[in-house]
Symmetry: C2
Subunit: 259 residues, 2 copies
């Protein structure tokens, strides 16, 4: 595999950084190529602004259109171009981050906001009676797979089907489906550690073994079976799931996973 | 009302900025007090790091514990303390932002990550057989109400119950429930504009009228009826919704809204 690890934690001695380091050593020892985007170490600029799009940015700024023109003319900043190049190089992407306020830290959201430009990650493909662009299973990054490795302070029960925080699969759906699957990346079932604020050294040994096991079986892991947009499951252009396709009783985000 | 507007768009001539400006003028004309945190204009630092917590930050950094100690000792940076003070001053908070990759822009997530510190927005209240801290309906910010004003590029049908992006209420649930309701803020039904990339000047006149109407009726608007944590609906400490409380057929995030 050619694996890109995108890592988002400010403390090099944190659990997140240990998991990132373990991923690098485990994958390299198994003969895989690994590149790391350690966003804090890179002092990653988290905020989209006109400076991202070079001197040709329009005034007033149009984020989508300007990002697309800058992408197409090679005018994106070198930091963004480097991340796009890493994504095109990789066949596998691992995101390592703590769940902060039920989603990714700002620095990682800023990586998505800046790297996933128009004409690269969206605004791709033709619109017709049978296609609504290349999205959700098609797109620039099709053929790649990604894994979220997420640490969570609270206990697992709070993220269960009836848990007060909402089910973890639903909390991660906007990332799995909306960020990854949209430009074509298949999302693997996530690696989630709960109760990490109370983790002991003994606990960590078990966690490390489980993480190594996930890493060494990535190639044979089946992705979450999201429905592809342009292959008959959705009305076009409303993009409503066609009547009768959902498994009984399934609603909301769950509609978009094949039964 | 005492209204804080937290605004997150880089372009002062954007639709988002126009809506923010209209909110200021409409509310002030109606006799309300308004303060604005224009995050791009403030050059808001989006990224949590050790510098947020003053010279007493521990090494290795512990984000939750260090943020709580810095809060309790007054060692948080002045920018963060100013935002906490504004939240305590306000009875109403409006968040104005574009939906980027199905959630808020990084600069606004960074406002949450940095301002909502331990001991301020979480880690508050006692744990007992009948309480699991002050969360979800109780907490430091109880008594306040908030409104998300969100612009969306795509059409409304894609965000409907069967739409491919998932229902807008579910996409916003981690913000309404996980970020706002957690420290006690009641979330009002959001003001969402769809298809904004194709909006004309004529469209804008209708939008502006609808926005003014929402603003002038905020005080009489009923919040989303999320279930309070510590008042009998949840098992403690698992925080599972008790059996039989959910309206028939409702699952996932919807369990946490009263029927």
């Amino acid at each position: 595999m050619k694996t890109l690890i995108v890592h988002a934690h400010p403390e090099p001695k944190s659990l997140n950084s240990s998991l990132k380091d373990l991923a690098v050593s485990t994958l390299e020892s198994a003969g895989h190529e690994v590149r790391v985007s350690d966003l804090y170490a890179m002092n990653w600029k988290a905020v989209v602004d006109a400076a991202d799009y070079g001197p040709a940015a329009s005034n007033p700024l149009k984020v989508a259109l300007d990002s697309g023109r800058a992408f197409e003319t090679g005018a994106l900043t070198p930091d963004v171009r480097a991340e796009q190049e890493k994504l095109l190089w990789a066949d596998t992407v691992i995101f390592q981050f703590p769940l902060w306020w039920y989603t990714m830290p700002a620095i990682l959201k800023g990586w998505v906001d800046r790297v996933f430009t128009y004409r690269f990650a969206y605004g791709v493909g033709e619109h017709s009676d049978t296609k609504y662009g290349e999205r959700f299973g098609e797109g620039t990054l099709a053929g790649r797979r990604a894994l979220l490795s997420v640490t969570v302070g609270g206990p697992e029960s709070h993220y269960a089907a009836r848990g007060i925080n909402g089910p973890i699969d639903d909390l991660l759906f906007p990332i799995h489906h909306g960020i990854l699957y949209y430009p074509g990346i298949e999302a693997l079932p996530p690696f989630v550690l709960y109760g990490v604020d109370r983790m002991t050294d003994d606990d960590y040994r078990g966690v490390a073994a489980a993480w190594e096991q996930r890493l060494l079986t990535l190639e044979s892991t089946e992705p979450i079976p999201f429905r592809r947009q342009n292959f008959g499951d959705y009305e076009i252009p409303s993009l409503h799931l066609k009547e009768g396709l959902e498994p009984e009783g399934r609603t909301g985000f769950g509609l978009h996973v094949r039964g």
